[in-house]
């Protein structure tokens, strides 16, 4: 009897112990589940809506990391840069940030210690072999790498294929042919070159396109401050070619009276047949849904001997905040630099990846053409002027270009005024 009672008590104890163990394991499991690290990603680039499914898939596959993805692009680039800097400084911003401008903006973030050094990550992940050296140099500061080039841009001429067919025009292969093309377009009652410079943007971009197209890497020396602006004769040739768009009646009238968006409307409405733009234009034109098919070619070089094919560079880059959890952030970087994510961006919003991928053929033909040509010419792309110029000088450049287009300055005076503005800034800083 006593033995049976003892056995019953032991059975009860064992049962209680088992239940306690199970409860313990369950609670441990829930604690482990609760310990998933949130990684907040801010995107300053294209809408991340298309990424929702990818993010969901990532979160399902990772118990230890939970990605929270937010699009924060509002207002101008300057305003966004301000927002990012203040958020990072106050440790109230994202852990991983996409779409960051390289050049002065990245340098400012690095100089204030807000951005994590990714040099070791590059080596450990093998990413260093996937980024072209000229792009890598743009995110390298004093020998250390602080950002991952996320998307690549190159500027060219988007044209109305239907109008070209109607006028029996061919894609030009030289600047002379381009001039003939503009003349033919003008004779047919269209405007050949779309220009809307009110408000600044994209004045400096357009002028730079023509200066790159004529001076090549010599223009980089000018932007970097190692060669005076007025000494660049090839830059002057490029400016004259740019000014010729207005002076010869190739561009729409009143380029200073309409802004960038209003000028694009002229293209969508078939009034203008060509527009100088970057790959971001593909996604915008899909939304605008014009009644014609759009083609693309690179602006033929003003100077055939130039060593730079076009203007462009890193559209946006990824950075990791200094306060972020390193392991979690690096796992997210692994994912963001996968071919799967890059192809999705290419397919959905025509964002060209900066790291090497196999461009799939089953995407939008225009996207495929630009992605392929950009990848093939990646070492012949001159970077955005703001990569080299201090933001203040770049802002002034927009206004000074307006002065030239409005006839207030000659191209020579433009170069002199840029020199004065640039050198004054450098002297003050």
């Amino acid at each position: 009897m006593g033995k049976n009672r003892f056995a019953t008590q032991m059975q009860r104890l064992a049962l209680i112990g088992l239940v306690a163990l199970l409860l313990g394991l369950l609670s441990l499991g829930s604690v482990v589940a609760q310990e998933a690290t949130d990684v907040l990603i801010w995107s300053l680039g294209y809408s991340g809506d298309y990424n929702d499914a990818l993010v969901e898939r990532f979160n399902e596959a990772h118990d230890d990391i939970n990605i929270v993805y937010e699009d924060v692009l509002t207002g101008t680039f300057t305003e966004n840069n301000q927002k990012v800097r203040i958020a990072l400084e106050n440790e109230a911003g994202p852990h991983v940030l996409g779409g960051v401008d390289v050049g002065a903006n990245l340098q400012a973030l690095v100089s204030t210690g807000q951005v994590r050094d990714l040099t070791e990550y590059y080596r450990a992940s093998g990413l260093i072999d996937r980024i072209p050296p000229n792009l890598l140099s743009q995110v390298t500061i004093e020998g250390r790498i602080y950002a991952i080039p996320q998307n690549m841009e190159s500027v060219g001429i988007f044209y109305n294929k239907d109008a070209f067919a109607e006028l029996e025009l061919e894609v030009p292969t030289s600047f002379e042919e381009y001039g003939d093309l503009l003349e033919a377009v003008k004779d047919a009652g269209y405007y050949g070159y779309t220009m809307g410079l009110a408000g600044g943007w994209p004045s400096a971009l357009m002028a730079s396109m023509f200066m790159y197209s004529s001076a090549g890497s010599e223009y980089i020396d000018v932007l970097s401050g190692t060669q005076p602006w007025p000494d660049c004769d090839n830059c002057l040739d490029g400016l004259n070619a740019f000014y010729g768009m207005v002076a010869n009646g190739y561009a729409n009238p009143e380029p200073l009276g309409i802004d960038y968006d209003q000028s694009l409307d002229l293209f969508y409405q078939g009034i203008n047949v060509m527009v100088l733009n970057g790959p971001w234009f593909i996604d915008a034109s899909v939304s605008a849904d014009p009644d014609f098919e759009i083609g693309f070619f690179y602006l033929p070089a003003v100077n055939p001997n130039t060593d730079i094919k076009t203007l462009g560079g890193i559209g946006g880059s990824l950075i990791v905040a200094e306060y972020a959890d390193v392991d979690a952030a690096f796992k997210v970087l692994d994912w963001l630099t996968t071919e799967e994510v890059a192809v999705q961006a290419l397919r959905e919003v025509s964002v060209l990846p900066a790291f090497s991928i196999e461009v799939p053929e089953d995407i939008d033909p225009l996207t495929y053409q630009i992605a392929s040509e950009t990848a093939a010419n990646v070492d012949k792309i001159g970077f955005w002027p703001v990569t080299y110029l201090p933001p203040k000088v770049f802002g002034d450049m927009n206004q000074i270009v307006q002065g030239m287009i409005g006839g207030m300055l000659t191209p020579e005076e433009f170069l002199n005024e840029m020199q004065e503005t640039h050198s004054t800034y450098l002297a003050e800083n």
Binding site: Q82, L256, G257, G395, Q402, I405, M408
Partner: protein, 305 residues
């Protein structure tokens, strides 16, 4: 005679109660808000103007008067300031005059007063951004309504590149500013008119005064203090104009419509806080001098007459 220690209700007054402090207590919240959110930032901006700071770096480098030296030698600063003064000169005349005439018109009419008052005040309640975008499309060289309207009424010779021509861009932005601002002047003048005793107008009418004589001999002198207020308000808004110009032209083309606040905004955008605050401080001092000088001059004229 011993003073009563009881109030009107017969209750003993608390020895701690100080009725003379009550007004100060009532204005205390407003004073605190003013000090923290108005005067505080102005003083902070003044102090910052002596430092080189990019808004983010924890430390700022003392630069003395270097920023003032830079902006006072910067022809773009003087260009922007001269545009502010042009704007000011126009703003104290045109929107004020339009506002006064419309207020007199509304005051005089018997029917539709409420409708006209509401309709004419309507532009003033719109956000400056909305107004700027409306005018951007009005001025559009291809799709805008202004040039076709001018052609329609036989004024085709006056069609312009309203925002693209550096000679008139500033004045085009001023038209948008005027459209947005005359309504404020109008309602303030209207309130002033309603305070004038009607027997003054009746006396003028009995004396055979015509509209012009009533306006210049009766209405305007009776609105002396209202004028001071309206013009002072215009000084503030004209010297601080930003949104309309920024959206319409961005200060261009080629700085032709640049004003101080856009100049400052550009500096802040470039994280040049020292230059930006130095320019803002100079502008603040000019506004204070102008408005104080104007008010003192009006007081002196009022006293001397």
């Amino acid at each position: 005679m011993a003073q009563s220690l009881t109030g009107p209700g017969g209750r003993a007054a608390s020895p701690r109660f100080r009725p003379d402090l009550m007004p100060y207590l009532f204005i205390l919240p407003a004073v605190v808000i003013y000090l923290v959110f108005n005067l505080g930032p102005v003083l902070a901006s003044f102090v910052l103007s002596f430092f080189k700071w990019d808004l983010l770096t924890p430390t700022a480098e003392f630069n003395g008067f270097k920023h003032y030296n830079f902006i006072l030698n910067d022809e773009r600063f003087w260009g922007a300031l001269s545009h502010n003064f042009i704007f000011l000169g126009l703003a104290v005349v045109i929107p004020v005059s339009i506002g006064l005439l419309l207020a007199v018109f509304i005051y005089e009419i018997r029917r539709g007063r409420v409708f006209f008052r509401a309709a004419l005040f309507l532009p003033a309640i719109f956000s400056g951004v909305v107004i700027a975008y409306v005018w951007k499309w009005i001025y559009h060289p291809f799709a805008g309504v202004l040039n076709p309207a001018l052609e329609l009424v036989g004024l085709g010779a006056f069609t312009q590149s309203w925002l693209g021509d550096h000679k008139i861009a500033l004045y085009s932005t001023f038209i948008a500013y005027t459209w947005a601002s005359f309504g404020y002047s109008m309602v303030i003048f209207l309130a002033g008119l309603q305070d004038i005793p009607t027997d003054i107008f009746d006396a003028a009418r009995v004396d055979g005064a015509n509209f012009r004589q009533k306006l210049f001999r009766v209405t305007i002198p009776c609105l002396y203090d209202v004028f001071t207020f309206v013009v002072t308000l215009r000084i503030f808004t004209a010297m601080g104009v930003f949104g309309v110009i920024y959206i319409l032209t961005g200060g261009g083309p080629y700085y032709s419509s640049d004003v101080i606040d856009i100049y400052v905004f550009r500096m802040i955008g470039n994280f040049e806080m020292g230059w930006a605050t130095a320019a803002a401080t100079v502008n603040t001092m000019i506004v204070v001098c102008l408005s104080t000088g104007f008010i003192k001059w009006r007081e002196w004229r009022s006293w001397s007459s």
